[in-house]
Subunit: 288 residues, 2 copies
C-alpha cells in the first residue's frame, strides 16, 4: 500500500472536499483525485463517497483507520529521529458534551504544552463515539460505553453525578398540597436521546407528559434551567455555587443519577496516546 | 388528508422511533405504524425512512412541513378557544452555537414566561439551518444566510464581531523581530467548516500551515484559547473582561470579522412565531 495514497484518503475525509485536501497537502486537486483513484484501483473498491462533504465508504473506513494508525506511528518515529522539530500529528478524540463543559477542560491546558501534536476534538454522544472509534475517525473517546470497541482498550474514569434541580420560583409555582406536580412542571432535555429526566419521572411513577423544552448545549441547558424555563438533571460539577447561594434548589435531596464514564483508546504502542490518556485520567479525578 | 396521520408522521420523526412516537401520542406502536402506512398508501409514496433514528423521505419532508404549520395554527386556535388552558405547542428553532452561547440567552428567560408553547432548539451551522427550514424541522432560524429560504421571510439582526485573541504568553512565545510568526503560532478552530481563522491568515498573506486544534463547542473554544492552546477568532460578546484584565490580548488592534445574522421565519400568521421573533430581535440589540 502506498503511504501517499493513504495520506490523500485521510486528508479528503478530514477536510471534506478534494480542494481543501489539496490545499492541506500542497498538491493540486487533480493529484488528490489521482491518488484516491489509484488506491481504489489497487484495492478494487470505492473508498470515498464523493459528496458534500466527502465521506469514507465501509472499505474506505477500514483503510482510514489503518492510515491514521500508521500516521500516528510514523510521526512519532519522525519526531524522535528529528529530535523534536518535525510537524505535529493530529490527535482526534471524542468527548461527550457534559464532560467537555466540566472536568475535561484541564486536558486543554495540558495539550497547550504538547509541541508534537494538535488536538482534534469531536463532541458526540455515546453511540456515535463507538462508531467513530471503529471507523478510525478518533483514536480515543470519553464514553459511557463499557464494552470495548474492537481493537480498543477500556479504562474506567469514574461517575458523573446528575442532580434534579430548578429555580426556587419554578418549584414554588408547581408545588401544591401533594408536593411537586411533576406532570405539570416543565422539563428541559438536552436532545431527543437524553433519557435522564424521563427516567427520573418514571421512577417516581409519573405517567403524564409534562411540557418539554429542548436545549442541546451543556452551557445553554444550565442557562435555561437558571432562567426558569424548566427543571433538569444537571451535572453536579456544573452547578458551582448555584445550590449554596440559592439560585437553584434540589428537587429531591436523595435522588441522583450516576453516569459511569470510560476511556476507550486504540491498542497501540503510542507515546502520544499514553500521554493524553494520562492527562484525561488526571482530569477525571474530579469525577466520583 | 388526515390530521391523525400527519400527527403520527411528525411524532415519529421528532422522537426517532415508532415506540417513542407511540409513547408521546398515548397509542400503541402498531397504531402509529398503521397511520404512517395509511398516509403512505393515500399519497402513494414512502414518507418515513425506517432506521435508527427514523427520518423523513423527500415527500415525507414536504408533508412534515405542512403538518407542522397546521399543528401550529391548530394549537393556537385551540388555545384561544380554550381560554389558555390547552396543551403547549412545540416551537422548533435553529440557532448557531456562538449565538446560543452569548446574546440569545435572554430568549430562554422570555420563553420561561410562555405558558402556551415549549422551545425546541437545534444548534446548527448556516448551511444546515436552511435545510431544516426547508424540511419543516424548524419554523424559524438565526442564520448567516441572507437569501430567504422558500416560504420564509428574513429580517436582519445585526453583526456578531469576532476578534483575533490569544493569551499574552502565547503571543510572547511566537513574537520575534519581524512581529508575530503566524506560520508557527498554533490556531484553534471550531470545526472543519470554520473559516474565520484561515481567512484572517490569508488576508495577512500567510501561506504556511500553522498547527491547528479543533474544539467544537463555543464555551470550550474560549476555554481552549484561555488555556493557551492556540489563538482564535472569538466573539467580542463572549470575551467579557478577558481583554481588560489581561487574560487575553488582541493580536491585531484593527482586525476583526463581522458576521451578519438574520432571522428567517416561516411566512405564517402565527402569534407564537411573532412573539419569539420579537424576543429574538430584542435580544439581538447586543449585536452591532
Amino acid at each position: 500500500m502506498n503511504f501517499e495514497h493513504l495520506r490523500a484518503l485521510s486528508a479528503v475525509v478530514e477536510e471534506g472536499t478534494f480542494e481543501a485536501a489539496a490545499d492541506r497537502l500542497h498538491i493540486s486537486p487533480s493529484a488528490v483525485s489521482q491518488r484516491i483513484k489509484a488506491l481504489e484501483n489497487a484495492e478494487g473498491q470505492i473508498m470515498v463517497r464523493r459528496g458534500a462533504p466527502c465521506t469514507p465508504t465501509e472499505p474506505g473506513a477500514v483503510l482510514l483507520r489503518m492510515a491514521r494508525q500508521v500516521q500516528l506511528l510514523e510521526s512519532e518515529a519522525r519526531h524522535t529521529l528529528a529530535g523534536g522539530s518535525s510537524t505535529r500529528a493530529t490527535t482526534p478524540v471524542a468527548v461527550n458534551a457534559d464532560s467537555l463543559a466540566t472536568w475535561f477542560l484541564p486536558v486543554l491546558s495540558d495539550a497547550a504544552g504538547w509541541t508534537d501534536s494538535t488536538l482534534d476534538l469531536h463532541v458526540e454522544d455515546q453511540d456515535h463515539s463507538a462508531r467513530l472509534l471503529r471507523s478510525g475517525d478518533v483514536i480515543a473517546a470519553v464514553t459511557a460505553e463499557p464494552a470495548p470497541v474492537n481493537g480498543c482498550r477500556v479504562q474506567p474514569l469514574g461517575a458523573m453525578r446528575y442532580l434534579p434541580v430548578a429555580t426556587p420560583e419554578l418549584r414554588e409555582r408547581f408545588t401544591g398540597a401533594g408536593g411537586i406536580d411533576w406532570e405539570a412542571m416543565p422539563v428541559v432535555r438536552f436532545n431527543a436521546k437524553d433519557e435522564l429526566q424521563r427516567r427520573f419521572l418514571r421512577v417516581r411513577g409519573t405517567t403524564g407528559d409534562p411540557p418539554r423544552h429542548t436545549v442541546p448545549s451543556s452551557e445553554a441547558f444550565l442557562a435555561a434551567v437558571r432562567a426558569g424555563l424548566g427543571w433538569g438533571m444537571l451535572p453536579e460539577l456544573q452547578l458551582g455555587t448555584d445550590l449554596d447561594d440559592g439560585a437553584l434548589v434540589l428537587l429531591d435531596g436523595r435522588a441522583h443519577e450516576d453516569v459511569l464514564l470510560y476511556w476507550q483508546a486504540w491498542k497501540l504502542d503510542s507515546e502520544r496516546l499514553e500521554r493524553i490518556g494520562a492527562s484525561v485520567r488526571r482530569a477525571a479525578r474530579h469525577l466520583r
